[in-house]
Symmetry: C2
Subunit: 497 residues, 2 copies
């Protein structure tokens, strides 16, 4: 039963325990693991590694697609195994270690990691650990619920460990489309021109002789913790759907809006749920991560096709999708993150990019990563890949947090991940600011009028008006620009007493 | 003689004075003009317009490729003609009006303006005013020393005014390669795979019936004010050339480095001059602007081909190039800025992007535009188009300015145009910091060690060490992060007394 999943029979003798496989990972090595938004990560070998390191201290540099599930980043951090980590994470224990300066974290645009590897600008992985549903007759690897950076990691690594997860049905095979850009200077255009184009292979092509260990597992991905829309996220969705209607009416967007990208999390999910209640149809997605809302939209007959890099679902939706794969097979594709997020494709297709801001400022700069300018939350992820070249670049957030102690709209963001040049539309539950074609002073008026919470509106207007007295293309009072943040740090609230 | 330049004879009756032609431009209109980095701008009609507006006040929205020469932005500003201006400028009078909030300036990635027009996200030009060397038999427009946004402006505008500049030799024809992307959702890949590929036409294809006026002129572009390298810019060049040598030795760059892009100005020009004295050969450029150094490198047999969007030369070099066009003809091409700066091509070709920073900070964020976070200098230009997708993204600046009163390396930049995610290499005359694959705390050490001027090094180290005590992935002391800037504003120097 298990061995049927290893169709290249020369590899049958490579089956071993996770503990044995983990021994291929040695002190100082760079390791590339599968996993993207807590989907499709190798599960047993990292866990065995963490246990081993707890007894025999050593350090590795860990690269993944994006975040790992099943508490693996937590276990690896606690064991002290992580010297360096890239390009994304969402784990609270690892986050603390990063902010303490104990783990060096390299926060990258998710489309760029393997490009930098390909050019030897980052250290190549010594070992790749990839979750698979099967190994083909040719010895190629069929990924599971994410592709992430798995293909390039496996191609670049000297040794490859495969975890075959028996929980996944063999029918997952065929879902993936593995395309790897050729080397410069003879690189050719990425031949993808429609969201549903298939341009690569269904398995990761490597020399099977590189596969040094195969481990069988039977463990689910972590389930999505996405919650149902609340009043605020439903308002955000409503503002955005109304904006889309007007864009279509003005012929600035096609009737089906064009391919949609939505970031991970509750707000972006709520926005997609908002489309469920709208009249839009024939929608398509060209996104990183496919969440519950993707499948709800497909089930409702509103979404024709979804291209992504990973699938992360709630427990309810997980059963619905993976027990009915045939129903979705011709409506889905999973690609490497280099392709799901590729600037060339994002610009060509004209994607509507919807991502979540941690905070934004009155001039349209967005902070996606750093609390009060210093403490890393998760990472920039793919938001920059999409926002820069999108047809329309949207950022969403609730206008306040922590019961009103924090305004998500600030005079100046404390860290910039997306500059004023890359942000078109800002939305909070208060309303929507359309910044396209506006100068900074015009943007400030729109943001203050439409996005700032009433509790902070007068203070923001006061800051802006006093800054204008000083002048400048982008008026600011530098000694006061972060006063809302420092008040929060010192008094626990951004509100002036 | 003049009429020979209008080969579509139906248009012979459209010849008129600049004053007459300027009457097509009416109050409230959006006008698209040729001109990029003070090269190839329409010269007579804007001047006539400024004179007219001085008598009869009216306002227009002016779009160009980039900056205009011959003091046209100054004249138009002084006349009060400008309500809005995009996407770039370099004029001190206009700059003052922008910073006073009198002219609304929209500072854009230079590859994006016509994309936003194409999608009706910006107001379409009513009239286009384009400098040409000739009009073809088909009534198509042959540009002069820049292409900029001229092609799309002429295609989108309802009425087109052509200025035929008799100073330019007819031999300019054939230099240009006009490629316009098709409309979504049926857009195909840009078919350019080598710097010297020609993928379009040599003239701007429009319906000649749209040409409402033709004006003859005989006036030179403004000459480049680029100066010879000084000790500091020569040091910057030396650091960068040494870095390139090491990259080639480590096989991270090809022997000819790959296509080079260099921003406008003295420092980038000095870097290119530094290559003149190096052993590198078979160089190529895929850049925005071609300056003196481009032609010196061609003359020296070191540069095989240069693709750009405009040519701006010193008086000396101007005669050398335009009197010997045959010598350079098969080594040059001028493209629309949408193509010279296209992210798709930048990523495909693997460009080495070299741009000038106004200031950068210890974590690798770059400010290209705003003095003390508020006052616009010129604009982001194409630096973002190149830096984001470059093979290696380099930013250069002298470590100090104003006789040492300003440190160009600061604790936190006062405005962010290029985020930490998009910056690989920082160079001052002090040295070079290689930030690739480093976490923020590691980057800070490299920048302080290699880039900061000795006068500021201890103060910077002190800031960084005290910030680290507070912790965070990117340590900062928010209430002090701009103290160097506020000291400059209040005391005229960033130095602590």
């Amino acid at each position: 039963m298990q061995l049927e999943r290893i169709r290249h029979s020369d590899l049958h003798n490579k089956v071993m325990s996770a503990e044995q496989a983990s021994l291929f990972i040695k002190d100082g090595m760079t390791v590339g693991m599968s996993g993207f938004t807590r989907a499709g990560e190798a599960k047993a070998v990292p866990r065995a590694l963490a246990e081993r390191v707890r007894e025999n201290p050593m350090k590795i540099n860990l690269m993944t697609g994006a975040s790992l599930g099943n508490d693996l980043d937590k276990l690896l951090t606690e064991s002290g195994a992580l010297a360096r980590r890239m390009p994304f994470q969402v784990d609270s224990t690892l986050r603390k270690a990063i902010n303490n300066g104990e783990v060096m974290f390299i926060d990258q645009h998710l489309s760029e990691t393997v490009e930098q590897l390909r050019n030897h600008q980052l250290t190549m992985p010594d070992v790749a650990v990839i979750e698979a549903v099967a190994i083909t007759e040719e010895g190629h690897i069929v990924p599971t619920t994410s592709v992430g950076n798995s293909a390039s990691f496996a191609i670049f690594a000297k040794e490859v460990i495969v975890e075959i997860n028996m929980l996944h049905q063999p029918e997952l095979e065929g879902l993936h489309d593995i395309y790897i850009p050729s080397y410069r200077p003879t690189r050719t255009p990425v031949p993808l021109v429609k969201v549903d184009d298939r341009i690569g292979s269904t398995a990761i092509p490597i020399d099977p002789a590189k596969i040094v260990g195969i481990v069988f597992t039977n463990q689910s991905d972590s389930f999505s913790t996405v919650t149902d829309p609340d009043a605020d996220t439903a308002s955000i969705a409503r503002h955005l759907v109304n904006f889309f209607k007007e864009e279509v009416a003005q012929q600035r967007m096609p009737a089906n809006l064009g391919p949609l990208q939505a970031g991970i999390g509750n707000i972006a999910n709520a926005v997609m749920m908002g489309l469920l209640d709208s009249d839009f149809k024939d929608l398509t997605m060209y996104s990183e991560v496919l969440q519950d809302s993707t499948f709800d939209l497909i089930d409702a007959g509103k979404l024709n096709f979804a291209s992504g890099c990973s699938i992360i679902l709630s427990e309810r939706c997980n059963a619905q999708v993976f027990n009915n794969l045939e129903k979705y097979r011709d409506k889905l594709v999973l690609r490497p993150q280099e392709m799901s997020n590729h600037p060339e494709i994002v610009r060509r297709l004209g994607i509507i990019a919807i991502n979540t801001a941690l905070e934004f400022d009155i001039y349209g700069n967005v902070n996606s990563t750093h609390v009060c300018g210093t403490k890393m939350m998760n990472g920039i992820g793919g938001s920059g890949d999409f926002a820069r070249n999108a047809h329309v670049s949207v950022f969403v957030t609730k206008s306040i947090a922590k019961g009103g102690a924090i305004s998500s709209v600030v005079p100046m963001v404390s860290h910039v991940d997306h500059t004023e040049h890359d942000v078109d539309i800002l939305v909070t539950e208060q309303g929507l600011a359309d910044l396209r074609g506006l100068a900074p002073r015009e943007r400030a008026i729109e943001v203050i009028k439409h996005c700032v919470h009433p509790d902070y509106r007068n203070a923001m207007l006061d800051y802006y008006e006093r800054a204008c007295v000083r002048g400048g293309h982008t008026p600011h009072i530098l000694e006061e620009a972060f006063s809302w943040h420092t008040r929060l740090e010192q008094q626990g609230t951004m509100k002036q007493s």
